[in-house]
């Protein structure tokens, strides 16, 4: 029998990026807010200080800052006719754990989606006709538009101090920025980061080929900054230990550097760490959330009653929470009914490694930041004519190499043996003169009827509940998209002066052991129609109006960009709706 705690106005599940944004916004309304986080409190000087954060083995290879599968994991299969088996150790993605969530270990690549990304089905149908899209592709419009979200993208970028060069200022295309981006109301708060050698060489090669390269928008700041909450950050020092690692010198945007020190001082805010919410509780009608039940590390169950519940956990855990709490109809791919778990997507990643003459090129790959890189957007979204190509979607591409950490950056040219004297001398000869972009091609992943999440029939978690099951594979559309983009990318790497290329195309089947970013999306998608979405355009549950669900679980499909900027913009958008409309008149904001 859970012990009952005193009621709060608002309970927030998960204190990552969106949990922190929601907590900060809603405490400003004078309401009592508690955030409950499964993992530990995290803080730079004590958890990732400048004197031991830069440990590749500990934080990248053994991934110490991440969730342990033993605490929660998923089963995986490619196709519906296979048996799903547990992901016993992480591979293709890696969920965060702890206060700050993914905001602690992310690269801070801070993109906006294109305006067309938000009205994807409408736009593609208009341009290419409905028959151009595969029959089992289930892409949808978001229900909110780029123009509606623009002020919230702006709010997030100014919260973070994002470093970049604007490409489109109120409709005017700007030299040096991304000419394809949606219009922004004002420039980035800080100038773009300076670029190391290989990144500028890529830009030159891209320009020579007729493209318009621009610096990747970076949450690793180019200079000292004070954000609107009065919090200060320092300049990034290009340590090359960004994604997978916490930042030791207050130069990476995270909840820790941009929100929490301000938030924690508010007397109406409390955080609980090492406490895992296991259920959202409903009243008898099933239409009203009464609060949450959570378990602390002592194994004790508690109930936290609240008037408003914000589910701000990582994508997969949002879906899992709704399934376990029996909120919303679970998706059935055979009957094509139900909503929770549908439109599950990832990202379509590939790269091209380039090997250069070490007597002419010294790239010092260890000098890098997480969002360094010169990119081109000519092949993203619908920025190019797909008619002759037979696929839809695309992504940005760039020399976005974020470090030269030796365990992972000592790749050798194709055909080199994997061990022995030849391997050793190839490593010696190529480390300083190779280009290894990592997520060089960062493509979209559209949604399909047979790519989804549901509960596993066999495997259980430590509470005896079913694990969530992922059924995911690449479809021809994404494979074609990726082949086309990878070839274009290879041309640029060649034009930089590489003597040997290693093209690493993305191929089916989807491999759960091969890391492909943690940009998982969908399962609790937003939309305008309750039969094909779980939440409305304000991220409010259609079934339980005093429940809002933030995060990339809202995306009906993934675009060709890192998701965090859009995830944060949607959180600000939802917070605005809650503050401006819901709190005055609790109840459904949209009557479908």
């Amino acid at each position: 029998m859970p012990r009952k705690l005193p009621k709060k106005d608002i309970v927030i599940i998960g204190l990552g990026w969106t949990g922190s944004i929601m907590a900060n916004e809603l405490t400003d309304e004078g309401l009592d807010v508690i955030a409950i986080e499964r993992g530990p409190w995290r803080d730079a000087p004590t958890q990732f200080p400048t004197n031991y954060a830069q440990d590749e083995l500990r934080y990248r290879i053994r991934h110490e800052l991440f969730l342990r599968p033993e605490q929660n994991t998923f089963t995986f299969r490619n196709k519906m006719d296979q048996t799903a088996l547990p992901i016993r150790d992480w591979g293709s993605f890696m969920p965060p754990n702890g206060v700050g969530g993914g905001g602690v270990h992310w690269n801070a690549e801070t993109w906006r989606f294109l305006p067309t990304d938000f009205v994807l089905r409408t736009h593609l149908t208009e341009r290419y006709g409905a028959a151009f899209l595969p029959e089992d592709m289930t892409i949808q419009d978001f229900g909110a538009t780029y123009d509606e979200l623009e002020p919230h993208y702006d709010a997030f970028e100014y919260l973070c101090g994002t470093s970049g060069t604007a490409g489109n200022l109120r409709g005017q295309i700007q030299e040096g920025g991304n000419p394809f981006e949606g219009p922004r109301s004002r420039p980035y708060p800080t100038p773009a980061q300076k670029q190391p050698f290989s990144h500028t060489l890529f830009a030159k090669a891209a320009r020579d080929l007729g493209y318009k390269p621009f610096p990747q928008p970076s949450g690793n700041l180019s200079q000292a900054y004070k954000n609107p909450l009065g919090l200060r950050m320092g300049p990034c020092t290009y340590c090359g230990f960004c994604e997978w690692f916490g930042c030791g010198n207050y130069s990476k945007a995270s909840p820790q550097t941009t929100i929490l020190p301000h938030l924690i001082r508010k007397s109406n805010f409390t955080a609980r760490d090492n406490s895992e919410v296991v259920q959202i509780n409903l009243d008898r009608s099933g239409k009203r959330a009464t609060g949450v039940t959570f378990v602390d590390t002592g194994g004790v169950e508690w109930e936290q009653p609240a008037d408003l519940v914000i589910l701000s956990a990582y994508t997969l855990f949002n879906v899992q929470m709704l399934l376990h709490s029996k909120i919303g109809a679970p998706y059935d791919p055979v009957a094509n009914k139900g909503v929770v778990g549908r439109n599950f997507t990832h990202q379509t990643i590939s790269t091209v490694n380039g090997f250069f003459d070490n007597k002419k090129f010294n790239f010092n790959p260890f000098i890098a930041s997480g969002s360094i890189g010169m990119c081109i957007d000519e092949f993203n979204g619908d920025n190019f004519d797909h008619g002759p190509l037979g696929f839809v979607g695309g992504g940005y591409m760039g020399q976005v190499q974020t470090g030269g950490r030796p365990i992972q950056s000592t790749g050798v040219p194709p055909g080199t043996p994997k061990w022995g004297a030849a391997w050793k001398s190839a490593v010696r000869d190529n480390y300083l003169s190779s280009v290894r972009p990592g997520t060089g091609v960062h493509g979209s992943f559209y949604s399909y009827r047979d790519v989804y999440l549901d509960l596993d029939p066999t495997y259980k978690d430590r509470f005896g509940r079913p694990l969530m099951r992922m059924t995911i594979d690449f479809h021809d559309n994404e494979i074609k998209q990726n082949a086309y983009l990878t070839d274009k990318f290879a041309e640029i790497i060649r034009a930089m002066g590489a003597h040997t290329l290693e093209k690493v195309y993305r191929k089916a089947p989807y491999d759960a052991t091969d890391y492909q970013t943690t940009h998982l999306n969908g399962g609790v998608i937003m939309g305008t129609d309750p039969t094909t979405s779980v939440i409305n355009r304000y991220l409010q549950s259609w079934d339980v109006p005093n429940l809002f669900v933030t995060g990339a679980s809202a995306f009906p499909q993934n675009a060709g960009y890192n998701p965090t900027g859009t995830v944060a913009a949607l959180a600000f958008w939802a917070a605005t709706a809650i503050r401006g409309q819901y709190l005055k008149n609790p109840g459904p904001l949209i009557h479908a």
Partner: protein, 416 residues
């Protein structure tokens, strides 16, 4: 004639300035009571009674019970709420004044100078009564406090008579007519209710102020409270008035940040001072002459080379390759009096244990410094501190590995 008038106005102004900021002289009794309580509230904050007289972790305000660490053992602070039995509710005004400004309790026994009466003696009677008026409005808390917790022989309060005779000079602050009203106000605050001398003035072996070294710095509980005179090398000589006021008000300035015991002081006390009072303090402190210290000993070349290597590899990512840090975020080592202090205790402590700088409403970031004690041995800590103290335009005496080792040993017994 005009000069005389100016002169008397100046005196009058100084007197009013010094002692009675904010008190209305109007004849309305209620108005006066309210003003006096407000003034008392402000002065209580300046004197920071709350910090010592409130127990940690949820103690009731001013109800005492906080252990005050002294080299002779712990003293427990008394209950100064208006409770008649266990607090000061039954005390007369004179008895309260005698305790604060003379160190004598109603029963005639002496207070130990953990209660900084040698500084509070400088307060005016009016100010002390205002504090009393404010304390009388605090919620009375019935909480007996066993105050005499020092071990034998230090629990013999009678010995304080002798101590007082040696070290205690009773008497109100006397304004200096040669100085401006602001200077006098600053001097009054620093020497009197602000009791800065309690931490920042060196003490004799019996704990009395070495008054000829006023505010030149003092080592207590593993920290060195630095020189806050206008000394260019070790004190505030290179700080502007704005640097001082920013530090006291927000805990941060372009050069450094408050941490350790000063962080508590900033949050509880100085961050709530009037801006005029902060400027007055700055005026006073900067006027205090520096010492004509001899040039410090030269650092060994091999030490500087090692220190530079450590600095580049480990310190520069925050404190900058030029030692200038990032304003309001990472202190500037070049200009920091903490790093150049004659007694490097605070610098050693920061390097070994790490620290968090203070969070105030104006500056909530509170950046933290990691601990290096696990990573650097005594010779390395000494080398990098010697480097920092001598690498840029300033110079200070080298730090020896022995001093680091002693500090490390003593700090290992501390839990704070």
């Amino acid at each position: 004639m005009r000069n005389a008038a100016k002169f008397s106005i100046a005196i009058g102004a100084a007197a009013t300035w010094v002692a009675a900021a904010g008190v209305s002289g109007a004849a309305d009794p209620d108005g006066q009571a309210f003003d006096r309580i407000e003034k008392g509230h402000y002065l209580t904050t300046v004197a920071d009674c709350f910090a010592c007289h409130t127990a940690l972790n949820g103690g009731k305000p001013f109800a005492g019970g906080r252990p005050i660490e002294t080299p002779f053992g712990n003293i427990t602070s008394s209950n100064i709420t208006p409770d008649n039995e266990t607090g000061i509710g039954a005390w007369s005004d004179q008895q309260f004044d005698d305790a604060v400004r003379k160190g004598v309790r109603p029963d005639g026994s002496r207070l130990y100078p953990a209660m900084p009466f040698p500084a509070y003696t400088k307060m005016t009677h009016d100010d002390v009564m205002a504090i009393r008026a404010y304390l009388a409005t605090i919620e009375p808390v019935h909480q007996p406090v066993r105050a005499n917790t020092l071990p034998f022989p230090f629990n013999i309060r009678l010995a304080m008579r002798a101590w007082d005779a040696l070290y205690f000079t009773e008497g109100e602050f006397r304004p200096d007519s040669q100085q401006s009203p602001a200077w006098n106000r600053g001097a009054y605050l620093v020497q009197g209710p602000g009791h800065c001398t309690a931490c920042h003035t060196p003490k004799s072996f019996l704990g009395g102020d070495k008054t000829s070294y006023n505010l030149r710095g003092f080592n207590l509980q593993g920290w060195f409270a630095p020189d806050i005179t206008g000394d260019a090398g070790e004190g505030l000589g290179q700080w502007s008035e704005a640097d001082i006021t920013s530090y006291l008000k927000t805990g941060h300035n372009r050069v450094t940040a408050a941490t350790g015991p000063m962080a508590e002081e900033v949050v509880n006390s100085t961050s709530q001072y009037d801006d005029d009072d902060l400027r007055a303090i700055a005026t006073y402190l900067k006027s205090l002459p520096g010492q004509q210290a001899a040039a410090p000993a030269q650092a060994e070349q091999s030490t500087m080379i090692a220190g530079e290597a450590i600095y580049r590899d480990q310190c520069s990512a925050c404190h900058g390759l030029d030692g200038q840090g990032v304003a309001m975020l990472f202190p500037s080592l070049v200009q920091s009096s903490l790093t150049h202090a004659s007694d490097p205790a605070s610098a050693i402590r920061l390097v070994l244990r790490g620290a968090r700088s203070v969070a105030t409403k104006a500056e909530p970031t509170a950046p933290g410094m990691p601990s290096f004690g696990w990573q650097l041995d005594d010779a390395q800590v000494a080398a990098v501190l010697t480097y920092i103290r001598n690498a840029w335009k300033t110079a200070a005496a080298p730090v020896s590995p022995d001093v680091v080792r002693n500090a490390r040993d003593q700090l290992s017994t501390r839990s704070d």
